[in-house]
Symmetry: C2
Subunit: 183 residues, 2 copies
């Protein structure tokens, strides 16, 4: 069955975006990153078969202008009506499955590494016990309000730290495996 | 005027205690710390003149049995009636001042290093622009609910990372200075 990963940046107070979804603070922080600095995203993406993103992330990504996921397969989790751009229809699909059903289907279809992205979607997968590892890049700012990475889990989720990288421009990348006695 | 510091442990999702104030998860995590491991608390405490703690923290600390702050001066921020144990009255006082007034008074009284502790109190001092540095020890667990370290700030608080220490038992200690153009 597929390994599910989170790879995301947060403020020190745990927000992935401002309350309106804005990423200006992250864009500002990224201007402090010297050109050519490797923050691990490209190597991570090369391991991924499928992205699972939420509807909010999908709608946000469409505003970026260029589609950021290349030819990678993407599943958009949504229960609302959605029209996928015909230019993306060969690799982007929508699903209203719950996380466990989608995870099982992707596994049956041969997926081995799934990148789970977007606040609500990450929270649903984590609460369902489906996340295997998290890479969190902590940006040196407190926003005071925003869309949180984490939400209710209904139980403690134990983690194993397996890597920490810190950068001269103040980012800290924390990598955890989820400790799962059940798998 | 005094330097104000935060020195605290949080879950990866930013909680300093469970919703009921319980620290069982932190006590459990501390059982994984080898005896003699230095997590920096003692050296930090030696630099401190005064602790400022909230009422919830004070009430919690009283349940510990032994008073944890030795002979250090402690100010309990509270607007509710409070009776200080006579055995502590030589070093513990209560105050209903707002953070800026208390900070100014402590400075006038000669305090140089203040340890600000407790969720609400830290949030009030941070929102008032009075925190100079934060040492946050991130425990490898997601609690899903609890008392958050951070709250509304009304603005972005920029930070400068100045140290990261990670431990084989999975704790990560992040040390930040608050970037304050106004001081």
């Amino acid at each position: 069955m597929p390994i599910c990963s989170v790879f995301i940046a947060t403020s020190l107070d745990g927000f992935i975006a401002r309350p309106d979804g804005s990423l200006d603070w992250l864009d500002d922080a990224n201007t402090t990153v010297p050109a050519g600095t490797e923050l691990g995203y490209e190597p991570f993406m090369r391991t991924i078969d499928v992205l699972v993103i939420g509807r909010n992330t999908y709608d946000k990504v469409l505003t970026f202008g260029a589609w950021p996921y290349g030819s990678k397969r993407v599943v958009v989790l949504t229960r609302r009506p959605i029209t996928i751009d015909p230019a993306l229809a060969d690799r982007v699909s929508a699903s209203a499955e719950d996380p466990a059903a989608l995870w099982a289907r992707l596994g049956a279809e041969g997926a081995q590494r799934v990148y789970v992205d977007g606040g609500v979607t990450i929270q649903r997968f984590l609460a369902a016990g489906l996340i295997d590892n998290l890479t969190i890049t902590v940006i040196p700012v407190v926003l005071g309000a925003g869309i949180p990475l984490f939400g209710p889990t209904g139980r403690d989720v134990a983690l194993t730290l397996f890597d920490v990288t810190h950068y001269p421009f103040g980012f800290v990348q924390l990598r955890y495996r989820v400790t799962r006695p059940d798998r």
